[in-house]
Point group: C2
Chain length 451, copies 2
């Protein structure tokens, strides 16, 4: 088999066989196919599209390119949630312990801040001592102890994705729903999941802004999950403003601890509700409730009872984190600078360019410019209004946190453009816009042009 | 400027500016843009197409990526002919001296055997002593002496094409009319031509078999030549059978010498006619005749008068070749093996798969498998019939020449399939099918889908 023949085939719009795709993926993982050939194939795949069978084969070949995690010795349904990335999205810290409390195991392999979106690992690492780099046997121990473990990807997990993702980043081949699906699903399926709930963001803070693109990706991932034997559902959810009150690192853990401790706040009801719905789907897929609605009710009980907080605390301890700070989480928030960002007029918060808000958070120091850079644990943003809220001229719209006063100017400029106050409130999109399941996925797959 | 942004732009179907294209081409020539980025851009260019302005910019940037030849000190119209490659195509050896005899200068930078097609340089190197590797000042000396010089490409001429062509070969991005046009035209225009005649082959022996593809490429090259200020015309010509009687290396020089010496033969009237028409166009473009038809007449006079033979002989001598063998060229043809290939039935030669005939010639030893391999000077094929000719069962259809008897089996198999004898002659396509000029190019450009 020659790589050039496979590139030509895809270039001419023909689907590759599973064996041909495996040849390319193995060649990527072992670096035996040179990058110039892989990138030509990636560009042809982006422009010609992949068939559903090709996406399945690509996902499977990538998943099997390295070691895989096997949670079956635990004897319980293994389930995870994956989000396509947002601003202030901290549902994992609620969902993982809720699902664990419902009797499932949650081997959650998470990522870092990317572009304008935050990273679960960066947030957890703001807890002193928390280790995100566990070996698979170490993760197994944590799961045996508390049924949930949130860790980073090891180098040996899905090595093909590391090679291909880095290449896609350099060759403008990131934005393909087919390649995005294979990248996400290969990593999730390598955790040996029985069930998976996908939180596909749409709106001004999402990577895929157009609803039809997000729907197609969601349906593609549901299809691919099902083909791999993993029960999969996807929720298309609103990312038109930051989720909850806070966006940053420690402040997001702190907000999650509040909710885990039953401290509700009008500004983070969206976060609480989305977490419960997602956890409800996980519980339903795992057979611990008869419907997603019943799952949501069960999730709320487990949150309100304090059982989820217990598991979260135990998990953080098991991974080396210092939970003494959980007693008074607001006292641990120690940014060098706090500065209110004031509304320049009165009216209603009518529109938020949530991607720009995400960039403001990143520039405050909570995110990174380049892979490998450190992030500031206490930098970030507190929102004082949600879309539709009345705001007064000169009153704080949000508060900025940073380690260095020089970090404020650019975020202030970004926020001035991103937060739009108008005379009247604008219509507000629902939090959960669509639910894509194996039963209805077909209509979304057919709506898009694919081979 | 970042390569990834330019790849993204082309990926999304937007045209690049001349500055952006220059950035990519310079990056290729200086190897400062990595191959994985160049190949992603090449694939996007192949699948999205290039605008006419982009092809112009690409050609110019490639031309200027290295040193260029400047024939202007000679004070005469510099003209060349380029063929897209065929079997038995030896028109250069007639055309160059004819155009030179008409008062033009012909700085002809030629190529080697590629795939199933022969190479002008390989044929010339069958003449003992002939040097194809001249420096540009050496070519200038030869031109000053005899007005024609046929040489190979130096390493310093169009270095961007060497990098990009090698990459295209590995990444299945050869077959783009836009990229083919830029590759051919940048090399031709680097010779400082005032005029250029393109012989675009179509039919069973051509790289572009479909007539519409060949027409589009032809029009694209005429457009690009004109934009660069070089008077350009293209002839779409028939490559449904080998041109003339012989295909190989020395035997093609020998056949050319026969025609230069006025020795005509019914089996190579096509070669003679095509050479005169192409030379006629060169003479017309160069202002030495009022029309292409008048140019053809002038070309015939210069051929018949022996003036072209004189110049050819002088040029070979000037480039170190031993022209003593020109006295009895058939005696210099010394293959180790000669074997007749017999017709297995009687009838008419109705169809020739000319690409397969080209592969037979290559396997006999006249071509090469890989770049850099030597070729056999005396290997090749002599045809004893043209399309439409009556052939008798058991009579020789052609004669094979090789240095080694083991070289015969595969060519015989190829020829048995490639030469089709039928009860009735099939209709024969005209030798010259279309003429594409600046005046009529538009219709062919518009016939194809391009941005």
């Amino acid at each position: 088999m020659h790589a050039v023949d496979l590139i030509r085939k895809k270039r001419d719009g023909e689907p590759l066989t599973p064996e041909e795709i495996q040849f390319l993926v193995q060649g990527a993982a072992t670096e035996t196919i040179p990058e110039e050939q892989l990138s030509a194939w990636l560009m042809a795949a982006l422009l010609r599209g992949l068939s559903l069978a090709e996406v399945d084969a690509l996902t499977t070949a990538m998943k099997l390119s390295g070691e895989v995690f096997d949670p079956s010795p635990l004897g319980r349904f293994a389930v995870d949630k994956h989000s396509t990335g947002g601003v202030g999205d901290k549902t994992s810290f609620l969902i993982a312990p809720i699902a664990a409390a419902a009797g499932l195991v949650v081997p959650m392999i998470s990522g870092r801040a990317l572009g304008h979106t935050g990273g679960t690992l960066d947030k957890l690492e703001s807890i002193p001592g928390y280790r995100t780099h566990l070996t698979l046997p170490e993760m197994m121990e944590v799961l045996a102890l508390c049924s949930a473990s949130i860790v980073g990807q090891t180098n040996r997990l899905v090595p093909a994705d590391r090679v291909l993702y880095s290449l896609r980043d350099r060759t403008a081949t990131v934005e393909s729903p087919y390649l995005i699906c294979a990248s996400i699903m290969s990593k999730k399926l390598a955790a040996g999941l029985n069930g998976l709930v996908l939180d596909v963001k749409t709106g001004s803070g999402a990577f895929l802004r157009r609803k039809e693109d997000a729907l197609f990706l969601a349906a593609l991932m549901v299809e691919t999950g099902e083909r791999a034997g993993t029960s999969t559902a996807a929720l298309l959810t609103n990312m038109n403003q930051p989720l909850g009150r806070f966006a940053g690192n420690w402040i997001e853990i702190r907000e999650s601890l509040d909710l885990l401790a039953g401290k509700r706040h009008p500004l983070n009801e969206d976060l609480r509700e989305l977490s419960l719905v997602l956890a409800g789907w996980m519980i339903f897929l795992g057979g611990a409730a008869d419907s997603a609605t019943a799952g949501r009710e069960r999730a709320e009980q487990l949150l309100d009872s304090g059982r989820a907080l217990e598991i979260f605390t135990k998990m953080v301890q098991a991974q080396g984190g210092d939970t003494a700070i959980f007693a008074e989480p607001e006292r641990f928030h120690r940014p060098a600078i706090r500065k209110d960002f004031l509304a320049d007029r009165s009216g209603y918060l009518a529109r938020v360019d949530c991607t720009q808000v995400g960039w403001a958070v990143q520039r405050l120091g909570a995110g990174r410019e380049r892979a490998g850079e450190p992030v500031a644990a206490h930098a970030g943003l507190e929102m004082h209004a949600k879309l539709g809220d009345k705001v007064g001229a000169g009153k704080p719209l949000c508060t900025l946190f940073a380690d260095d006063p020089s970090r404020l100017a650019e975020p202030e400029l970004l926020l001035r453009q991103a937060l739009v106050i108008a005379d009247r409130p604008a219509p507000i999109d629902p939090l959960i816009q669509e639910i894509i399941t194996p039963e209805n996925k077909k209509q979304y797959l057919e709506a898009a042009h694919h081979p």
